[in-house]
């Protein structure tokens, strides 16, 4: 039995690989899933529990704790302002190195969006910029524009990345699990810490592979900073992206198809069209359009556009279009905004599933399938639901809108949908969109062929009748069979570089707060001043608590001893005086007697 360790950012990534993991487990592999971040926003923890319960060969566990997660890095300045009662933690070596690692990786991600192919992707660049401490964009914003400068900076960053040591906790975790193969996903998150697993695997001689989870992963996020031994992608387009944008040698890439969409080929509607329409609140006698919501990055404020779209539909003046029903399907991870949408204001329009529905609830996937299956066409800004609609052969539409430029022209993956080989008909205005709907909803053999070709190329490159899940499982098994790699311990120059590198790490840790330069200059004197004042307060406390009572006691003792001694002396004096008087009196009496006798 072989051991496969599958490292995921959070349990939400299970949905991309659920079938493949079960298949690997069924064929006798022990699959250990480790999650860097626990997440239950969309019931991901339930998915993990369900998967673990499905086979004794599947185990789910948290990945080792990091001293500083990327999230901590981003909120460090808030965290630094400790709340009363918090324990101030001394900054360790590990903190400094992790800070340097996150900084270096974020800068690399930032630089990639200066490349010519990302010239329209200002929002993607802005997304990284927001995560970086502000000093870096200020320094790099202008310097990174010439390609030669970028190359030099990148080479320097790669050098720094090399000297960052592996994390002891991760080394220990990998040694304990001792996997035959380490799978990682997504690895390309901005400033990702999963890179450390790839580095540890290289050091320990464990074979590693990146599983590219989704169609936008290689173009809209960060870079693969340290190359794993293998990269598993969906299709040739992604293979080219991996080579051109991430520098992955073609011989390390395996194309498997998209296992995520396999169930769309096998599924059948869960109920009749009439039942479905009645359930969701649409007129079953009329065809309807499905509006598929996009993710929060693509469409943060989608409701006003949808309202305009619905109005345009109703007032289009084209009877066939005006009478269409409209079913709105919010993106599961961007559904909250739809609470403000009033579907009752639009005739024959409905929102389904209701906002806030748990994606793990029974029937959720079936509802989605039925929504697409029974629709006359699918409309969306830029979302993977448009790929799913292409699998079912539905006509697919989108409208270019100024508020979504960043999520349409500003992303490379949008071109897969609307480019020459794409399946989505794009309109530059709602008026044009209405005309496209008028003609586009009719049966069209040419469109069906285009859809099939797109699906074959993009989703199932090994053939429309070849499910991607078994191909993925076979690819993983084949990679595992290659056996362990040669351990690659750090060379001497890397170990030597760590001595000056430690200062760099300290600087990165300090700069990660994103404060202006003068703050670092005044911090030390300010802390010194505060500590001096604090010392004064402490001395004052000590004086109040111990000094003053002691002095009081001493003073009292002195007074007492003075009093006692003076009393004693007085007493002695008094007695001496009395004795003296008596002696004097006796002497006087004796003298008188002597005089009298004479």
């Amino acid at each position: 039995m072989s051991r496969i360790l599958f490292l995921m950012l959070h349990p939400g990534f299970i949905r991309y690989y659920e079938g493949a993991i079960q298949m690997l487990a069924a064929s006798g592999h022990e699959v250990n899933l480790a999650f860097e971040v626990s997440r239950d926003k969309l019931g991901e923890d339930v998915t993990a529990q369900r998967l673990a319960a499905s086979s004794p060969n599947i185990r789910c566990e948290p990945a080792p704790d990091r001293t500083e997660s990327v999230r901590d890095f981003l909120v460090r300045s808030d965290r630094d302002a400790m709340r009363t009662g918090d324990e101030r933690r001394a900054k360790s070596d590990q903190d400094a190195w992790e800070s340097l690692a996150t900084t270096v990786r974020l800068i690399e991600d930032y630089l990639r969006f200066f490349e010519p192919q990302f010239r329209d992707a200002s929002t993607l660049r802005g997304r990284v910029e927001k995560r970086l401490p502000r000093v870096y964009p200020q320094l790099l914003g202008a310097a990174a524009r010439p390609a030669a400068a970028r190359r030099i900076i990148r080479a320097a960053l790669r050098g720094i990345e090399a000297i960052i040591p592996t994390v002891d906790g991760i080394d220990k975790f990998l040694r304990e699990r001792n996997p035959d193969l380490l799978l990682v996903t997504p690895l390309i998150e901005l400033g990702s810490q999963q890179v450390d697993y790839v580095k540890s695997a290289r050091k320990l001689g464990i074979r590693s592979a990146l599983c590219v989870a989704s169609w936008d992963n290689l173009t809209s996020k960060g870079l693969i900073r340290v190359l794993p031994d293998h990269v598993i992608v969906w299709n040739e387009a992604q293979a080219q992206e991996a080579t051109a944008l991430h520098g992955v040698p073609p011989d390390r890439i395996t194309v498997t198809g998209s296992q995520t969409f396999d169930r769309w080929f096998a599924m059948r509607p869960s109920r009749s069209r009439e039942d479905f329409c009645r359930t969701v609140g649409l007129d079953p006698d009329r065809p309807y359009l499905l509006y598929t919501g996009s993710s929060v990055f693509i469409a943060p404020d989608e409701v006003p556009f949808t309202e305009r779209w619905l109005t345009a539909l109703r007032y289009s003046g084209i009877p066939r279009v005006a009478e269409l029903g409209a079913l709105i399907r919010p993106h599961p991870a961007n559904s909250r905004q739809w609470y403000a949408f009033d579907s009752a204001a639009f005739p024959n329009a409905a929102i389904w599933p209701p906002v806030g529905t748990d994606p793990n609830s029974p029937g959720f996937k079936e509802d989605f399938f039925d929504s697409v299956y029974y629709s006359a066409g699918v409309v969306g800004i830029n979302t993977s639901a448009q790929i799913e609609a292409s699998i079912l052969g539905r006509p697919i539409f989108t409208v270019r809108s100024p508020e979504f430029v960043h999520g349409q022209e500003g992303t490379l993956h949008f071109q897969y949908l609307v480019g020459d080989d794409g399946v989505v008909r794009v309109a530059s205005s709602l008026a044009e969109h209405m005309k496209q709907l008028d003609f586009g909803l009719e049966a069209d053999p040419g469109r069906d062929e285009r859809n099939r070709e797109f699906v074959r190329r993009f989703v199932r490159p090994h053939g429309l009748d070849q499910p991607a899940t078994p191909i993925f499982a076979q690819a993983v098994d084949a990679i595992r069979k290659l056996g362990p790699c040669v351990p690659r311990p750090d060379p001497l120059w890397v170990r030597a570089g760590r001595v000056p590198g430690r200062s760099l790490a300290d600087a990165a840790l300090a700069l990660a707060e994103g404060r202006p330069g003068w703050v670092y200059l005044v911090r030390w004197p300010m802390s010194l001043a505060i500590q001096t004042v604090a010392l004064g307060y402490r001395l004052s406390h000590q004086w109040q608590e111990h000094g003053r009572p002691t002095v009081k006691r001493l003073r009292r003792a002195a007074r007492r001893s003075w009093y006692e001694s003076s009393r004693w002396l007085g007493h002695r004096w008094h007695r001496s005086k009395k004795k003296l008087l008596r002696v004097t009196r006796d002497a006087r009496g004796t003298a008188r007697r002597l005089v009298r006798l004479r």
């Binding site: 302002a81 404020d301 309202e307 305009r308 345009a312 204001a345 202006p516 005044v522 004042v533 402490r538």
Partner: protein, 386 residues
Amino acid sequence: MVLLRPDVSQPARCGIDLVAAAAHARETGGAVYLLLDGQSMPVSVDGVPVITPHGMQRVWLSVVWRTASAARDVRARWRHLEASVVHEWRRELRRHIGDERLPFELRQRLRSMAEASTRRGRSETNAFPRRMLRAPSAVSLSSDFVEEARSQLTALGITDGRPLVTFESRTRPDIAVAVMEYLVDEGYAVARIGEPADSVHSCDGVVDLTTRASRPLSLEMFLVSASAFIMCESIELQQLAYLVNTPSLMINARDPFVAYPVRANGLVALSSAIDLESAQRITIGDMLTQPYFRDLHKQQVRGRRRGSHGYRDNTVEELTEAIQEMRAGITDGWTSESESQSRFRQRVVEAGAALAPISAHVSEWGPDDGFIGDGRLVRFQADGVS
């Protein structure tokens, strides 16, 4: 002397500049000198000379203007720097305030220093001069200008036969269409202005100016001045209405302070705010609380894309009711105000006074020395405020 260089490319914005300049000139007994490039400003304000300088006087005033604006820039930069230093200073203090190893008295002292710096950082906001804008200026447009604008409107199909309503709506085109149809049915001509609406619908009696490539200052200003009233969503258009003293109905307002009308002939209708956590509609009273403004501020000022609140636009029924109230106000005068409307005004003033010390946004847009405005919240909403 008040020197003014209005941005004529943005008619709505230059309206408030003119009103403020005229009000200030009236107070100080001076004149308004307009520095304009190319276009002439077709406005005269009774009691306040509005002078367009020429020749050497213009050169001299331009130099004065440039010097003053450079000084203003330097001041603004200085204020920005000062605010940044104060902010960072506060953050540095906060680093130590939570450190329990420090003596309690010292932490208390640091805390009071941090609070003092917070107060100092907030004392620099420029408040919206509500009191100055309170009295309507007797503004009139020059006859040449009126003539030119009228001919342009005639060419567009708007004639003097019907009272005009200038309508600006940014969202929910279906509601906009229904309201415009209602206005047309009520005997108004409607001119739609503002951002181009991505709607394929048009209705009779409505002239859509949103699709015109350019809308000269003269046209927009004349439209607002010639209107029986305006319906708007933007603060700029509301302020342009102050210039020509046209009654305004602000719709779909999200911020009760910003939108509250200064003039008595102004009405405001608030959007329905939905709490996106609980999916519940929040009350108008809740729209005057600190958590609401914190969220609004994050969305508007910090550019955060998602807030904790979503908004539903005013419905057709609400807007027709507001239009009826506006018509009643124009016909019968603006003297009759319901108990609930004056109570709401008082509530806004009280909320503003409470929030101003802790919210820069409220201190900028809230009550000006206890005065929020003579306008009112539409009656149907005011009646519903508990």
